[in-house]
Structures are given as C-alpha cells and as structure tokens.
C-alpha cells in the first residue's frame, strides 16, 4: 500500500496521533479530568463503588501474604465452559481473584480460564448495592396496600423475624382464602416448601433453546444441551469447513470455546458464518460472512435445498448424499415416508413447489432472506462439496416466533449433504456450555443424595406458559392445552432465584401484573428488577458464601467452596425456606434432610471419571477414613484417581486429552454405519424430516400449528412485518428488525451492576450507517428505540458490521422505567419484546420490529458507568 496523506476518498486519515490519543484518553478516562468523588464531570453525580476519595491514597495492588487461594465458584448461566476462579482470602477478606493456573496450559489440555465477568466477580459479591437486610415496602399492607407504588416506593429495613412472619402470614392468608392456585412461583429455591404446601402455579416454556427444546429431540438431533449432536473438540480439527449459523461464541460461550475453534482453524478448517452481524467470532474466524435477515434462516435453507435438488446429478455432479437420505432418514421423498403419512407431505416435493405451487428457488429465498440468489447457490454447492463439514448452529435463530420447523430444516440440509456421523462431519447445535465440544461427559460429580420430598397431594397443577404469563395474571385466564383455556386468580408472585420480571417478554405488562396482585416476594442478592417491584425483599447469600459447589463440563470438574462468610444479614435460600416452613406448619427437615457437609461428601464420593481403556466410569476421588472423619460425615473409604487434599487445593480436575486418546466422540457414527442396529430414539428410529410427533406436540400446546415437514411460515414480528404491504414493498411504522444479543457485560441479567463491566461494555444500541444516516444519527447520540410493545433509550453505536435493516441490543439490562414517560432508560430488551404465544411456547426474542429516532431530552442520557448504583430508596446506603 503506497504512502498517501489522505485516503482514496479524499478524507484525511482519522487516526493520526491526536486522534489515537483522543480515543485512548476516553478509554483510559484520565484526560477527562479525574473521577474521584468531588472531581466529577460537570453536572454528574459522584461515581460509584471503587472510586477513591480525593486525598486518599489509591489502595494499590494488595499484598498477597498470610492467606490462601481458595477455589471460588463461578456459578453463572453464562453459556461458557465453566471456569476456575481462585480467591485469595485473608481474615475473611478477598484481596484478589485469579484464574486457572493449576496445570501447564497446552492446546489439548488447556487451563480453564475465566472471562471478564468471572474476573469481576468480586464486584458482584462485595457490591455496594448488595441487598443487606430484609426490607419491606413502606406502602405495603396485607392484601397489597398501595400496590400501584410498586417499583417507585420507599423501603424500610425490617428484622428477619418480622420479614419471615409477615411473609408467612401473607402466604397463609392467600392460601386459605384463594388456594394454592393463587400463588405463582417464578423461581425454584423455595420449590420444596411449596411442594410441601400442596404446590403452586409455575411457569414453563423454552428459553435459551428457542425451538430446539421440543423439536430437536423429536427429529433425532437432541436439544443441544442434554443431548448433543456434534463431535468433540479434537475431532472438530478434522473438518475442512465449519459453518456457524447464528452463533457468536466469542460473546456467548466464553472460556475456551473460541480457543477450540481457533485450533480447528489453524488445523486447516475454513469458517463460514451465516448471521445478521459480522460478530466478534466472525472477526477472527470467518473466511466468509453471509449476512441474513433475522428469522429468515429457514427460507435461506430452502433456497439452498432447492439448489441441491436442481443441480444434483449422482453421475456427473453429486451434491446430495442419497445413500444417507435413504438409509438414515424418513420424509425426504414419497418413497421414504413413515406409515400413514400423506404422500404429498415430503420435503422434496415441498421444496420443488409441487406441494403448494411455489418452488423454493433461490430467487424466492433471496426476496425473504436478503441473500442474493447466486450466493445462495454458491453456499449450497460449497456445503455439499466440502469433504468434511461441521454444520453448526446456535439457538439464536430458533429464538424467533413460530419457527418450530427451523431445526428440522437445518437437519434437512445436514442430511442432504450427508455431513453426519463421520470424523470431521457433524450437524447440530454447538452452543452454550456444549460449544465446540460435543459428546458424553468424561467426568462428573456424584448426586447429592438428597432424598425425594415427602409426597403431598397437589392442590394445583396449573402451569402457565412464559408468553402468556403476565396476561394470565392480569386477565385471569391461560391456555392449558389446545382448545382449553382455564381460569386462574394469581394473588402472590414469588421470585425465588430467577429474574423473571426482567427476563420474560412483555416487561411493561409484567410491571402491570406486579401491581395487580396482593403480594410480591423476592429472594435475591442484589436490588434487581424483581426486587424493585416487590413488597418484601429477603437478602440471600451468593455461591461464594455457601458451603460447596460442583460444576464442570465434558472434560473437567470443579470443586469450589465457601470463600467468605455471609455478608451483612444475608442468609441461604434454604434457611429461608426452612423458616417459612416452620411458620406454615411444615417440618423444616423436609426442606433440607441432609447437611451441606453430607451433600458435599456424597457428591465427592460419587464423582466419576471415564477410563480411557474401556470408557467405563471409575471413582474420581480417593477417600480415606481420615477424610471422612475430618469432614464429619457418613461414608465409606474408596479408591480413586486423586486425593481429597489435591482436589480441594486445586479446585479442579481436568481430564487430559490428546488426539486418538479414545476419549473423542463422533456423533451418530454407529447409527450411520448401521441404522437398524443403532436406531435413534425417534418413532421411526431415523432422522425425521417428516415428523408427525413435533406437529402433534405443537398443536397440543394450543398456540399455532406446523406441518410434519419443514414448511416455511413467516415468523410473527419478522422481516415480513417490517412492511405495511410486503407484496408492494411498502415499509411500515417499524421498518427495522431487532435482534437481542447475549451481552458480554452480563450473564443474562446478572452482573449488570458491576462497575468494571459497565465501563467495559456500555449497553450500546447497534445500527448500520445506512440506517443511521437516513435518520440523521451518529455514534454517541442518544436514541429512542420503539417497538409495538414499548420504548427504550440508549446511546447509539454505528458500525458497518451489522447488516442494514437490522439493529441490535444486549439483553438483560435492569429495567429503569421513567415514571413520567414510560420509557425505559436502561435498554431492557423485554420492554421491546412483546409477549406473543406461538408454537411450542418458546419466546421469540429475535423477532421484533422497531423504529429509531433521536432523543431530544429533557434529561440527558449519561453513559451507564457514570450512573450511581440503583439502591432501594429510603434505606440507608453503603
């Protein structure tokens, strides 16, 4: 590249030294004139948490002596690989947190390194906005009090006795007056309590999985979590082509997953990304990026299938693996249908247009998906001609309204190209904790030994789907199954350990629902959205303050333990359940029949690891009588691979891996070789491209219907609904498609309050320059984003990395509704996502249509990291 003083387009090079320093100064913060208390930006509040006071020397790095490194739980539903944290504790104080350094780091047996969130864990456990004491809402009274003030009320600190008495009394009143069906439990930590009382109403529905939860297993592929369909991470290196369809492991599967994909790349695999966003995973991995409109993946796949059928010639241009289709699937053509099927319901005739008169040509698919027809053809050929391809998808494309057939369409492409069941060849979900490493586990913890709860007759079996949840509370009715609506009269909402109000679609309706009932209770460790809209808040311990913790992944097991004593007046959820049980006439030992020490021992004694020789399980831990005595538990000594002392000290055991170590996994290898001898657990024993089972199941739920073959139906609030008139191409009032990303600041809603993470990840609203310029918007503007369901306010980040017509925002920010305008200032995506029951009862978070306009005040929007932590009004602060 020749030396030019300015670019070809005449604009000066922006990043001269001054420009770079300006960026660097903003990033470092120092040039902004200091950020200690009293040295704030004009008009800004003092900054939170770990900002030093002026004149006070900076604490400086802690001196690490006189303490010990304790394996600390990283307990989150992060989608990551499960990482090791070690906390340096001196006199009950955590001075530093590091990650795995227990063994040398090699490519085959890497250290289990934590991400930025794990590294910021102290900021969560010791946060200034940690819930410290039980609290009661000032304007609450039994029966609800001034229920309309929930979310805006002041709080009073109360004692544990008062909090538990009050809670028990209100539960008793509601149970007696209205029955068990008046209590809606939206978490699980009080589950044994409610079961003992005869049950409560619960919510149900696929969340992260989208439509993979119910469709995946029925078609033969598994849901991607409890059952995987991809090969292990060392076999991945055998692939020539790796397709990541709708996945972003760099954000959503942190820990080693990207490292495993990078290893596959270095071993020669080419990566093809199909995604609306040139995401950070594509940035380092992609050889090709195909922008596709959200929710149109099924249409794109149909265009590809058409290409294969159109161009395939077994003699001169073999693109379709007919042998695999014929031996290993049902439903592709009339000759291979299950008994009783309508002969018109076969994939081939549907794709070719013989079933409905519309051939699913690449031109047809291009109109919907935004991928040009020539490109669709090239994609199909590339996938088919690859010798060994890994066709991998994440759950995001399936978190779209009424796309219950999408997993089946994805499977169809895998079956047509035959990339299943051989080294380097696989088709299925590769996401969440199973990213890049599929197959049965090589190691695991034992069971806790907790005996089942005593059988108590259930007084309610009511279960409400997530997409009808708030509506059911407000209107008193829900769908029990197809054709059957039932009444329900919810009087109490219990948030025991989940984040339902923030994380279920239709957040504004959720707030209304919370203001409609008599009693709202939250158990949590921070003042999150649930807590804010409650009447009584009970502060609980985090995993760092509890007895023990076991968690792992395919090739490692972590044993972490209590790092510090419970902070302030926090208590375990189990203790709370026992105290409530006592007050409600139940035996508290039904809640926790075993001591935490005994449960820990049981899990340790039952921990297993696979032997490479025969792949049978053997004991992981060697336990002596001394160990048993020291732990103060019941048990028998046993042989095992590692000592208790070693496991306790390191906090982790990693199963060493090497190529050809006998511990790899090729999914469906036996089935492919011999489908009769190793049938799948589907009705036909094969992959079901015609699946009556899923069609019947979706129908039985009672929301919408699908066909037994993968027929494309435009998703509700999908691309087609950006138009007022799709046929004429006239855009409607919400012409942009919103995708809601798993955002790096958080694990869903957890970590949102941590200062370091708020600083690193600003919860920006992401938009393409074409769309921004059309609206007169630029990076740094504050913008209002409006859907059919609500409006949020966010700082704008303009980047060409997202395709035009699509915008993005991270999910999980804690709602902060401005009471005067109803606008959410935090960017809580469930304000934009509406509750919309479809299909199997999943949530369509990636189908949402919006418009964006500049925000003109009156109050300026400050960057998230400059805002003070949200603390309960009225109660004394830190």
């Amino acid at each position: 590249m020749a030396d030019h003083p300015e670019r070809d387009d005449g604009r000066p090079f922006r990043l001269d030294r001054r420009g770079f320093l300006k960026w660097s100064a903003v990033a470092g913060g120092s040039a902004l004139g200091g950020l200690g208390k009293g040295l704030t930006l004009p008009g800004g509040p003092p900054l939170p948490w770990d900002i030093q006071e002026p004149g006070e020397p900076a604490p400086g790095p802690p001196l690490l002596e006189g303490g010990e490194w304790i394996p600390a739980p990283c307990w989150h539903n992060c989608g990551g690989q499960r990482c090791l944290l070690l906390a340096y504790v001196v006199d009950g104080e955590v001075l530093a947190v590091k990650t795995d350094d227990t063994h040398p780091d090699t490519a085959h047996t890497p250290q289990m390194r934590a991400c930025a969130r794990g590294r910021a864990q102290q900021g969560q456990v010791f946060a200034p906005d940690r819930l410290r004491y039980p609290m009661k809402r000032r304007n609450w009274a039994p029966g609800g009090g001034r229920r309309e003030l929930r979310g805006e009320d002041e709080w009073e600190r109360i004692s544990w006795d008062e909090a538990l008495d009050l809670t028990a009394a209100e539960l008793e009143r509601i149970l007696a007056r209205h029955g068990n069906e008046a209590v809606l439990e939206l978490g699980s930590t009080l589950r044994r309590l409610f079961r003992g009382l005869g049950g409560a109403v619960t919510n149900w529905g696929s969340t992260s999985w989208g439509t993979w939860l119910d469709t995946g297993p029925r078609i033969g592929l598994g849901d991607g979590l409890s059952r995987t369909s991809h090969n292990d991470r060392l076999d991945l290196q055998n692939a020539d082509l790796i397709v990541l369809w709708g996945g972003n492991p760099a954000w959503t599967a942190q820990g080693n997953a990207m490292y495993y994909y990078l290893q596959a790349k270095r071993a020669g695999a080419e990566f093809l990304f199909i995604d609306p966003y040139y995401n950070d995973s594509a940035m380092v991995l992609a050889d090709e990026w195909v922008p596709v409109r959200p929710g149109t993946d099924h249409a794109l796949a149909l265009g590809m299938a058409y290409t294969l059928l159109d161009e395939d010639d077994p003699a001169t241009n073999p693109l379709i693996d007919w042998d695999f289709l014929n031996r290993c699937t049902v439903g592709f053509d009339p000759e291979h249908l299950p008994p009783g099927a309508d002969p018109r319901d076969n994939v081939r005739d549907y794709v070719l247009g013989r079933r409905d008169g519309t051939p699913k040509t690449p031109e047809w698919a291009a109109r919907i998906s935004g991928v040009s027809a020539p490109r669709i053809r090239r994609l199909a050929r590339r996938m088919a001609r690859a010798r060994r391809a890994a066709l991998l998808t994440a759950w995001a494309p399936a978190r779209t309204h009424n796309t219950d057939s999408w997993p089946q369409m994805f499977l169809t492409l895998g079956c047509m190209t035959g990339h299943i069941g051989e080294p380097g060849r696989m088709t299925g979900v590769s996401c969440w904790e199973r990213t890049a490493d599929g197959g049965p586990f090589l190691i695991g913890a034992g069971r806790s030994g907790e005996p089942p709860a005593p059988r108590v007759p259930r007084k309610t079996s009511a279960r409400i789907n997530n997409s009808e949840l708030w509506e059911a509370v407000l209107e008193g009715e829900y769908t029990a199954r197809e054709g059957e609506r039932r009444e329900v009269d919810i009087r109490a909402i219990i948030h025991d350990g989940a984040s339902a109000l923030n994380q279920v679609s239709g957040l504004l309706k959720g707030i209304e629902a919370h203001r409609a009932v008599d009693f709202v209770l939250t158990l949590n460790f921070v003042y999150n959205t649930n807590a804010r809209y409650s009447d009584v808040v009970l502060p609980v311990t985090t995993q760092w303050e509890r007895h023990s913790y076991f968690k792992g992944n395919r090739d490692h097991l972590i044993w972490a333990r209590k790092v510090v004593e419970p902070q302030y007046e926090t208590r375990d959820d189990i203790w709370i359940a026992q105290e409530l049980a006592r007050r409600l006439g139940m035996d508290p030992t039904d809640i926790r029949p075993l001591s935490p020490e005994q449960e820990e021992f049981n899990r340790l004694a039952g921990a297993w690891v696979v032997s490479p020789d025969d792949r049978e399980r053997e004991n992981l831990v060697r336990i002596t009588s001394d160990d048993i005595r020291e732990m103060g538990v019941q048990g028998e000594p046993q042989e095992g691979r590692i000592s208790v002392e070693e496991f306790r000290r390191k906090g982790i055991h990693v199963v060493p891996r090497r190529p050809d170590d006998g511990l790899g996994h090729v999914a469906f290898a036996d089935f492919r070789r011999d489908p009769e001898g190793h049938p799948l657990s589907t009705p036909s024993g094969r992959f079901e491209l015609h699946c009556q089972d899923i069609a019947d199941h979706v129908r039985s739920v009672g929301f919408t219907r699908i066909d037994p073959i993968p027929v494309y139906r435009p998703p509700a609030e999908g691309y087609e609904e950006t138009f007022e008139d799709f046929q004429e191409g006239i855009k409607g009032p919400h012409p942009l498609q919103l995708i809601t990303l798993h955002y790096r600041r958080r694990t869903h809603s957890v970590f949102d309050n941590v200062a370091w993470l708020r600083e690193a990840f600003p919860q920006e609203f992401i938009m393409n320059p074409v769309d921004a310029e059309a609206r007169g918007l630029a990076t740094g503007d504050a913008v209002l984003v409006e859907s059919r369901h609500g409006t949020v306010l966010r700082p704008l980040f303009v980047t060409p990395r997202i395709m035009p017509g699509v915008v993005a925002l991270g999910e999980g920010a804690w709602a902060d509704i401005d009471p005067r305008t109803g606008v959410d200032r935090a960017g809580a995506t469930n304000v934009l996502n509406g509750d919309r029951p479809t299909g199997q009862g999943h949530q369509g978070w990636n189908t949402c249509v919006v418009e964006v306009r500049p925000y003109r005040g009156p109050e300026p929007l400050k960057a998230d990291w400059r805002q003070p932590p949200r603390t309960p009004k009225g109660v004394a602060g830190p």
């Binding site: 770990d50 900076a58 380092v284 393409n768 980040f797």
Partner: protein, 211 residues
C-alpha cells in the same frame, strides 16, 4: 530474568473480550475510570448495491480487528524522556516503572506517550501505569493479562525469543509507528491488518460517553 521483556499480541486471535483489561484491573485494584490495559477495535466498511442483486446491499471493504495494548515498556520510552523529575526509570529487564515519591503529577509523560499508557490518579495526584506485573515477574510468574487471555492471544517473554518466533512487526493501525519509541511489542497480524499510519479505518469502540 534480565533479558528485556515484552509482549507478543496475536491480533488474529484477539476477540476483544476485555478479560485482560479486567484481570489487570483486578490485580491493580483499579477503579472504573482508569485502565492500564485497553482494547481498541479498528475497522471500516460500507454497504453498496450488491452487483449480483441491486435490490440488496452488500458489504464493501468491511473489516475489523481488535488490539489489546498497555504500556509497551519501550526501548526508547518517551515518558521517561519527558519526565522532569526523573520519576520514570527502566529496569535492566526493560520494565518501565514510576517512582511515585518523585512524581510531581505534571502529566507531561501522559502527553508524551504515543500509546496513551499513562493515567493520572486524581486521588494521589500521581501518574500510574502498567508495571508488567513486576512483582509476579520477580517471582517467576506471568503477568495477569497474558495469563488470563482466553484465546492465548497475549504472551509476555524475552523480546529476542518473541521476535524469533513471531517476527518483527511492532505496529498496526491505529497504533503509531514503532519507530517513535521502539515498543517491546511484536504483533502477529490479523488477516485484514492495516499498516500503522496508513490505515483507512477508524477506532470504533462504542463511545464511552455520549455526545
């Protein structure tokens, strides 16, 4: 170790996850508002009518990569040259340190450093920066940024070894040319890497503050 130490950054593996940034903040107890290590995302691109289907837009010259940078512990540190009180010194192993007893807080070093590596601590009135985890180095351990990197993009070691293994490239856009201060940095370029001083893109992190 007395052989001069430095960094290798594999820009083809950096995913911009900020794990290194946070590990460093954790080790140094840095508050929000002050970072020793920073990640810059650099890129460009536009959308033009797709030649194969003019009803669609297609990306043109779209690229992006991330660089994780801290203090470069340069061979010719501009900060040290600028400091009027000789508060900045360099060890035989190349680690550049600030003696806060001598630091007057004049901030000349902050202006001199082409990498923006120094930051002012308003509570003490002194300058602060990455010290390559000198305490860990002296104990034979790795700095936390390198030890934390989840894609193994960041490495610390003797510069002659790093250069032997990874080459001589010491700058990419948007970093300044290595000729200025001769940073102890060697970069494995991203496939879309652009030369320092001649990049066509922009540093494109989401703005930290609104306009």
């Amino acid at each position: 170790m007395t052989a001069p130490l430095g960094f290798h950054l594999d820009a083809s593996a950096c995913i911009g996850c900020r794990t290194c940034v946070t590990a460093c903040k954790s080790k140094n107890a840095l508050p929000a508002g002050r970072d020793y290590r920073r990640v810059v995302e650099y890129g460009d691109g536009s959308w033009i009518p797709d030649p194969e289907d003019p009803t669609l837009l297609a990306p043109s010259n779209l690229f992006a990569y991330c660089l994780s940078i801290a203090c470069m512990h340069c061979e010719d540190p501009a900060c040290m040259a600028a400091c009027p009180t000789e508060a900045i010194q360099q060890r035989p192993d190349g680690i550049v340190l600030i003696d806060s007893a001598r630091c007057a807080g004049c901030r000349y070093c902050e202006w001199a450093c082409p990498y923006g590596a120094l930051s002012f601590d308003p509570s003490t009135g002194r300058m602060t920066k990455c010290d390559l985890c000198a305490d860990l180095i002296d104990a034979g351990q790795e700095p936390w940024c390198a030890a934390s990197c989840v894609t193994r993009a960041l490495e610390v070691g003797p510069m002659d070894e790093l250069r032997a293994r990874h080459g001589e490239l010491d700058a990419l856009a948007p970093l300044p040319s290595g000729d200025q201060t001769r940073p102890r940095l060697v970069i494995t370029p991203h496939r879309d890497a652009q030369p320092a001083g001649r990049g066509s893109g922009d540093a494109s992190n989401p703005e930290r503050d609104l306009r």
